[in-house]
């Protein structure tokens, strides 16, 4: 009798806890229903204000819907560790660049740690890491350890910066976690403007102020590149690469660049005596530009290491971030020759503000610097009056104003921005700071709100129909005993949902599939017990002892089958990623809960009915 009372108390306790855990979900649902029933906005506002606490707490504790049901983005971003390590090296010679390139290709193909690939490559080349990293006296292990620390820091910093950006943009309940040594997992529920979020996340936000080289040097450099291209495209490989014949002076007149279709470019350019000037035009004032159509080709050209080797010491050719509109309405992207070493970087920026410029139409971003930056900025501007300083963000030139006078205030401005929205995003990324290394999106799953609503409908339909089908089946097949199984089934579903709500796990479509499957599996325990009871009844046992023996004998198979299902679900949860975990989780909770509901709960129901003589042999169908 004592044991029986304990079971009853346990059932009552579990039911109460489950209901208590799901109560906020119910409140949240009914409150939002109430809110949407108001006809006028002031009414609903008044209601919201007077019930704010309740609404907030209900929402906070209610069962969360997964990204797929609510709509939203799931992103996996990867910190570019190769870039990070490159930054850390103090001596970058050709050998180093070659090794790093191998590392980069290998890292993109496999999931091995970049650091392992790196040290492996250095071992293959029989070189010590200290030749490039940290102190020459450090052993390889020490350096690996330091770099490891460095990449951990970088990942955590990247996480913080991205969190800052998202917070400033404003997403409700973002979840950002790190995975392994280079991955960030970002979950953004209910994002409406995915494109903007993507842009906001991926930029490194590396801001640099760089001195522009004189126009004559740009023109000379372009001529040299052109000559190089002429030799390398026209001359057969066997021909002696002698000193180039002086190239025709092409820079003195305005050229209209003929955009070359890139795939067929080789033949077209072979015939041309000035391959570079087919894609790059030079104005009389010494500024160079390319057209929108040739932009990709020019970008790839500028990234070639043989081209980069021809540039003057410590310089780089950079494209503008935004096109200028030419005379005929075509989009022209200016090309700048800037010093490689920045005069100042974005680390000194303390404040950024998106606003409209002096004419009130052009959006721009005003920036303020810290004291160190201010004094440096004053010195730089003072020393370079009349020269141009390019404002470079993530390798693209936003503007290159001429320094009119010394700027003592530490203020600077980015213009050349298309829209206020873009200016606002720049403000966000500048405030949040630069990422320690570039990040890339390597996995993305985003679901729009309309599809999410479809998923919810599909999920509810599946839950409803499977419950109906299984419970009616149990009633038909086992008669009265089926009722007990059905009650246990309801409790089982309630427990699964309440555990999810209680641990603030979210319910996704695969999670619903897990519950649906649980509905089918949970009654299995009852089937095993009932079949056994029938068998015992057939064997001539009295009802009461048949029930006793039935529960007793069936337990071993029930336990075995539940343990195996739990095993599989647990491993799926451990190794699975994202949506699959939701499925594994509900299946796990459901299977575990069914051990309780299908055995303890139904047994109590039977003993209750038996005590009142409400059961006969026929009750088991």
């Amino acid at each position: 009798m004592k044991n029986k009372r304990f079971n009853l108390l346990l059932i009552a306790f579990v039911t109460l806890v489950a209901v208590w855990s799901l109560w906020p979900t119910w409140r949240d649902y009914s409150l939002s229903k109430q809110l949407s029933s108001f006809k006028s906005a002031p009414d609903s506002l008044r209601y919201t204000l007077s019930n704010r606490d309740e609404i907030d707490s209900a929402r906070k504790k209610s069962l969360k819907l997964g990204l797929d049901l609510k709509g939203g983005m799931h992103l996996v971003m990867e910190v570019d560790q190769v870039d990070l390590f490159e930054q850390k090296a103090w001596n970058k010679d050709a050998k180093f660049t070659a090794i790093m390139n191998t590392v980069r290709t290998k890292a993109s193909k496999s999931d091995t740690k970049v650091l392992d690939i790196l040290s492996g490559e250095f071992k293959n080349e029989n070189m010590r890491l200290s030749r490039y990293f940290y102190d020459i006296r450090n052993s390889d292990q020490e350096i690996v350890k330091k770099l490891e620390k460095e990449s951990e820091d970088a990942l955590n910093r990247a996480k913080e910066i991205i969190r800052n950006r998202i917070d400033q943009y404003g997403v409700a309940e973002p979840v950002i976690t790190t995975q392994g040594s280079r991955k960030l997992i970002i979950e953004l529920p209910g994002v409406s403007d995915e494109n903007r979020v993507r842009n906001l996340l991926k930029g490194t936000a590396k801001l640099e102020f760089r001195l522009l080289r004189d126009p004559e040097i740009l023109v000379r450099t372009l001529d040299r590149l052109n000559t190089y291209l002429v030799q390398n495209l026209v001359a057969p490989p066997s021909a002696p690469v002698a000193d180039a014949s002086p190239s025709p002076s092409v820079s003195s007149q305005l050229k209209a660049p003929v955009p070359v279709p890139v795939p067929a470019a080789t033949t077209a350019r072979q015939a041309s005596a000035k391959p570079l000037y087919d894609v790059i035009g030079v104005f009389q004032n010494g500024t160079a530009y390319t057209t929108e159509r040739s932009k990709d080709y020019v970008t790839s050209l500028l990234h070639r290491s043989d081209i980069q080797a021809l540039l003057p010491q410590d310089t780089e050719l950079l494209l503008a971030a935004k096109p200028e509109i030419g005379k005929n309405g075509e989009k022209l992207f200016p090309i700048y020759l800037v010093k490689k070493t920045p005069e100042l970087t974005g680390g000194v920026i303390t404040e950024a503000k998106a606003t409209f410029g002096s004419q009130g139409v052009q959006p721009e971003v005003l920036m303020a610097m810290n004291s160190e930056g201010t004094s440096k900025w004053a010195r730089i501007t003072g020393a370079n009056i009349g020269k141009r300083i390019a404002i470079v963000l993530d390798g693209a030139v936003y503007s290159a104003p001429v320094v009119q006078s010394k700027i003592p205030s530490g203020n600077s401005v980015i213009n050349g921005i298309e829209s206020l929205e873009e200016a606002k995003d720049l403000e966000i990324v500048l405030k949040a700071g630069a990422l320690p290394a570039p990040v890339r999106i390597i996995e993305e799953r985003s679901v729009g709100p309309s599809l999410g609503a479809d998923y919810i409908r599909a999920g509810i339909l599946s839950l409803g129909w499977s419950f109906l089908a299984v419970s009616v089946f149990m009633l038909l097949y086992y008669k009265k005993a089926g009722i007990a199984a059905d009650i246990a089934l309801v409790l089982n579903i309630v427990i699964v949902l309440s555990v999810l709500a209680g641990f603030s796990a979210s319910l996704s479509l695969p999670g619903i599939a897990g519950i649906v499957l649980t509905i089918g599996m949970a009654v299995d325990a009852n089937v095993l017990i009932y079949e056994r009871i029938r068998e015992e009844l057939d064997g001539g046992k009295a009802l009461k002892s048949a029930i006793e023996v039935g529960y007793d004998r069936a337990f071993s198979s029930i336990l075995d089958s539940h343990v195996t299902t739990l095993c599989a679900a647990f491993l799926l949860f451990t190794y699975g990623i994202g949506p699959i975990q939701g499925f594994a989780l509900t299946l796990m909770i459901g299977t575990a809960a069914s051990l309780f509901t299908s055995i303890v709960v139904t047994k109590e129901i039977f003993s209750f009915l038996l005590d009142r003589n409400l059961m006969t042999q026929k009750s088991f169908g």
């Binding site: 299995d524 198979s557 195996t564």
Partner: protein
């Protein structure tokens, strides 16, 4: 209501036919795997997928030709049965560009049929290989765990035969995926993460029915002579036949509901679990138990079953 009440099928006698049948199904699946291979989903293949939904009915070939003309390379197919199409292409981290490309092409040429991009999935190659590995690990680990557990609860021969039955079930479903992959518009049957989840579910569940049969054999075989084994196996299977079938049917019912109502994203999963459980039920009667019988018969050593029954 009672079905399969007091049956007396001679399962053991027909086991060789069952073996042959299983081998035939398995072999055709394996041949199809070798020849045709599997339709890998985006999870394991890597790539980008865009789900486009139109306002009005439209033919898949129309949309395809529009995208072709616009120079958007990739493949397009019907998704589910409503006006949705799945466009898949190589992995592109710049989802914005991809979306813009698809959207502008469709807006330009299909002005009066508004479309919406309702879902985007992009999986980079390193993630894809990651997912593949964790899938393999999860499967192997769960098979090992089941082998150990059943071995601990019964006996190694029982456990091994049970795991063979699981292999049988999963490989048969895998073969079916290869055979039927890409044949139906409403279910593409692509191998992705959800199918791995299905395999693990099948593995966990396939042993359920097997354990029920084993349990009864264990209960009855104690102290019996090997010459009685055939009778005991047959009777045990007949006695548990109805519960084996009923337990499977309730799960099949739920999975059928999933297949019908849960939408195309879950359909492949539901198909895999449905066929897996069907085959699992068959295999626990016709593969797992007969294998144990044959093994016991050939090894001629008495069974040492664990798990003493208190009667």
């Amino acid at each position: 209501m009672r079905i399969f009440h007091k049956t007396s099928f001679d399962f053991i006698r027909f086991r060789k036919i069952a073996y042959a049948f299983s081998l035939f199904i398995l072999a055709s699946g394996m041949i199809s795997l070798a020849v045709k291979g599997l339709n890998y989903g985006i999870d394991f293949r890597g790539g980008s997928e865009v789900l486009i939904r139109f306002e009005k009915n439209i033919d898949v070939s129309t949309v395809r030709s529009v995208l072709d003309v616009a120079g958007v390379s990739g493949s397009l197919k019907q998704y589910g049965l409503d006006r949705s199409f799945l466009f898949s292409t190589v992995f592109n981290g710049e989802t914005n560009d991809l979306k813009a490309l698809v959207s502008s092409a469709l807006n330009d040429r299909l002005k009066n049929n508004h479309h919406e991009i309702v879902r985007v999935d992009a999986v980079g190659p390193s993630i894809a290989s990651d997912l593949k590995w964790s899938a393999v690990k999860a499967l192997m680990a769960s098979l090992l765990a089941i082998l150990l557990y059943v071995g601990f609860r019964f006996e190694l021969k029982f456990a091994a035969a049970g795991v063979v039955a699981i292999f049988h079930d999963i490989l048969t479903v895998l073969g079916l995926f290869s055979l039927l992959g890409g044949l139906f518009d409403f279910m593409p049957l692509e191998m992705d993460q959800s199918i791995i989840a299905a395999f693990l579910t099948i593995a966990g569940y396939s042993i359920t029915d097997t354990v029920v049969v084993y349990d009864r054999i264990r209960e009855r075989i104690r102290g019996q002579k090997p010459s009685e084994y055939e009778r005991i196996f047959n009777e045990s299977m007949n006695q548990t036949l109805s519960r084996t079938i009923i337990t499977s049917s309730t799960v099949l019912l739920s999975v059928l509901v999933l297949f019908i109502f849960a939408g195309p994203a879950i359909r492949g999963f539901a198909f895999a679990v449905f066929t897996g459980i069907l085959i699992g039920t068959y295999s626990s009667i016709f593969v797992a138990a007969p294998l144990v019988y044959d093994w016991l018969r050939l090894s001629k050593s008495p069974v040492h079953l664990r798990g003493n029954k208190v009667s």
